[in-house]
């Protein structure tokens, strides 16, 4: 009888568990994008993504709000978006139109920046190597095939490929 109830509990318990991917927050996204697009991309990332909305996730630390006799923060990167509320932003990101809008703008401005694209293409001409920076463990291999089918080998093709990979969802999952 005891076994019966344990099995009954087990069979119904799993229906209460919901799984959803953990989306990287703004700190994760920034670090990854800087690694891929270079240090010169930090300004674009800050303007369009890092100081974006709560949906991107990544709370600030209110103890880092140090001003040192100035109106400006000692370290602008520690700024709390939306005031103190920024310290309660979720640890992980959430899918939302604000997040995707920020990402669209960030990726677009990154690939449209001549300097950044030049540095990226100097690093490697191979689409696979750029893809591997986003997906080091080769997640979403079909995406790479689709991109290859639809991209050319020139700079425009590289921009289109990078933009698409940048917008893809799986590299954002931690």
């Amino acid at each position: 009888m005891k076994t019966f109830f344990i099995l009954l509990l087990i069979s119904t318990a799993h229906s209460k568990v919901r799984m959803e991917p953990n989306l990287g927050n703004r700190h994760f996204l920034k670090a990854k994008l800087i690694k891929i697009f270079g240090e010169s991309s930090e300004k674009i990332i800050n303007e369009n993504l890092f100081f974006s909305s709560s949906d991107v996730g990544g709370p600030c630390d209110i103890y880092e709000q140090v001003f040192h006799y100035s109106e400006n923060l000692l370290d602008e990167n520690k700024k709390c978006i939306g005031g103190k509320s920024g310290s309660r932003y979720p640890l992980k990101g959430r899918h939302s139109n604000l997040r995707t809008a920020s990402l669209i703008k960030t990726c677009f401005n990154l690939v449209e920046n001549k300097e950044i694209i030049k540095n990226v293409s100097l690093r490697s001409k191979s689409l696979e190597s750029h893809y591997k920076l986003f997906y080091p463990y080769n997640k979403s291999p079909k995406l790479l095939e689709e991109i290859k089918k639809n991209s050319s080998n020139d700079t425009q093709g590289l921009k289109k490929a990078l933009f698409t990979i940048c917008l893809s969802p799986d590299w954002q999952i931690i």
Binding site: L7, S15, D55, H95, N97, A101, F163
Partner: protein, 549 residues
């Protein structure tokens, strides 16, 4: 070792249990699907909560103490008009649509085309009073107004998750209420209303300054659509976001600035061009310098003249100190909200105070006042602050400034609300909207009139909507006695055998908006009946009993 009988029993049990499990799953899904009515694009309900964090007294506004000629016991600090220039006051009302409203409601507010009455705020309103917060302190009590179940999602979170609006909940302000947002899927747009370029701060996410990215986005979407798999919700979000992108920021910014100017004008005209009869239409003298003596009972004698924790009001006329007052961020919040709602950008809004405790009046002139410490030894210690704000948490706001500041604040707020409702009506959105005015709790006057304490057994929630066709007041309060008169302390309702509580408010809101409720075993105070929102409780009563606890 299992024998054949045991094996058959075990196998049978396993099959039975797995069938039971999957049936329960199906039942749960179908039960979930049947109970969840998602707000769709064509028929989304708007929810606007105006949360006055700090808990100002609302006796002059929507905390109606004797709506149906109920028994009433007067209290020196609970008044709607001054009876003389010494700060004595009385609770005067005016009967409108069969309900005794505080006298402020018979006054005029500013409209777009000149002074108007309060009709927009009366005809479609249900007032709920006498709600027991069952909480202690500002953070706990205020959180219940947005997140009644601390383990569950907040009201705005539930709305966001069930909404297909391009933007999820717009949360304006910074205090425990705004920080209580919790949802499963969608975040909130947290707006720093103190930010100088607030509008730009929100819409920069959608503003593309240079070349149009749509061609590149469409090509990327084509590839991602093929690849989407389980991420189709993500690709849908990408598509929606790309549709929201714009390059002509100035056009939207101009629209917002035009709205901001409108609300600022309304507040300015209401506060400074239209006096409030019985409140600021005559001289309000303060203390004289000769009153400053070493005085052991300074609060007993002069409590009513207190302005804040350290300042006493001196001078010929309090009105001289109020010539440049304003309502802070209220116009900004209304302007942004009107922009968002009329452009269909969001259907869930929380307007609250910008920096923790809210202020009723900003920029009160303070130069000629003296510090409370002057009465310690009879020395004349002048105030150092040139201007002060009158806090919503009126522990140290004497009865004179209390009546003046709350009257001016709610009159200014009413002018913004009235205009906002007019806009909603013009856009045929008022029937699809629920406006909710709330704060954490009401107040208990101090005996010496130097301020008021928290009354956690009294909360007021006011609901306005086009679906409410006539005004009514519900919720019982105690009459009180000579120790403390009628102030709004909750009393039980016979029909539900208890006082109302915050869960009932949440259950009501979620029921009206057709979204899942975060609470259980609660009353729906208002329900939809034949397309109209009708109160389910009897009219408000005042019962015998003490107002203090």
């Amino acid at each position: 070792m299992l024998n054949r009988r045991d094996l058959m029993t075990f196998g049978g049990a396993s099959i039975f249990l797995s069938l039971l499990g999957s049936s329960l799953n199906t039942l749960k899904k179908s039960e979930g699907k049947n109970n969840l009515n998602f707000i769709n694009k064509n028929d989304q309900q708007n929810y606007i909560q105006i949360n006055l964090y700090g808990g100002p007294s609302r006796w002059v506004f929507d905390s109606l103490l004797t709506p149906y000629d109920n028994d009433f016991f007067p209290t020196p600090m609970v008044g709607t008009q001054f009876s003389d220039d010494l700060g004595n006051m009385s609770y005067k009302t005016k009967k409108i649509s069969g309900i005794n409203f505080p006298s402020l409601w018979s006054d005029k507010i500013s409209g777009q085309r000149g002074p108007i009455g309060f009709e927009n705020l009366i005809d479609n309103t249900i007032f709920i009073r006498g709600v027991d917060t069952k909480a202690s302190g500002h953070p706990q009590a205020s959180t219940k107004t947005v997140r009644p179940n601390s383990a569950g999602d907040s009201l705005h979170g539930i709305i966001s998750d069930n909404s297909s609006s391009p933007l999820s909940s717009i949360i304006m302000g910074s205090n425990p209420v705004t920080r209580s947002f919790q949802s499963q899927k969608r975040g909130a747009v947290q707006v720093d209303i103190g930010q100088r370029k607030m509008f730009e701060g929100i819409f920069r996410n959608f503003h593309v300054k240079t070349d149009n990215p749509n061609k590149l986005i469409n090509e990327a979407l084509k590839i991602l659509n093929v690849n989407k798999g389980k991420n189709s919700q993500y690709v849908k979000s990408l598509t929606e976001s790309s549709e929201l992108l714009f390059d002509d920021f100035e056009r939207f910014n101009s629209e917002y600035l035009h709205l901001l100017k409108k609300y600022e004008q309304l507040v300015k005209m209401t506060l400074h061009d239209l006096n409030i009869p019985g409140v600021n239409d005559f001289k309000l003298p303060g203390l004289k310098e000769s009153d400053i003596r070493k005085n052991q009972n300074v609060m007993d004698k002069f409590g009513r003249y207190k302005l804040d924790y350290q300042t006493m009001f001196f001078g010929n006329d309090l009105r001289d100190n109020l010539k440049n007052v304003h309502l802070g961020f209220i116009p900004k919040q209304f302007a942004l909200m009107e922009f968002m709602i009329t452009n269909g950008l969001s259907n869930s809004f929380l307007i609250s105070t910008p920096k923790e405790m809210g202020d009723l009046l900003y920029n009160v002139e303070n130069r000629n006042n003296f510090l409370l410490s002057s009465f310690d030894n009879g020395s004349k210690n002048k105030t150092r602050d040139e201007v002060i704000n009158i806090n919503m948490d009126t522990h140290d706001t004497g009865s004179i400034m209390g009546l003046v500041s709350t009257s001016m604040f709610f009159k200014g707020l009413s002018s913004c609300l009235s205009e906002f409702i007019s806009v909603l009506k013009r856009k045929e959105l008022f029937e699809k909207s629920l406006i909710h005015i709330t704060s954490e709790f009401e107040r208990i006057p101090e005996k010496d009139l130097h301020g008021s304490a928290h009354n956690e057994k009294s909360h007021t929630s006011t609901f306005l909507s086009g679906k409410i066709k006539s005004p009514s007041v519900h919720g019982n309060i105690f009459i009180g006695d000579k120790e403390m008169g009628t102030i709004g302390t909750s009393a039980p309702i016979k029909e539900i055998k208890r006082e109302l509580n915050q869960d009932d408010i949440a259950e009501t809101i979620t029921g009206l908006l057709n979204i899942p409720s975060p609470v259980r075993r609660s009353e729906k105070i208002i329900k939809e009946v034949n397309g109209k929102w009708v109160a389910q409780l009897p009219k408000a009563k005042n019962l015998e009993g003490s107002s203090v606890f």
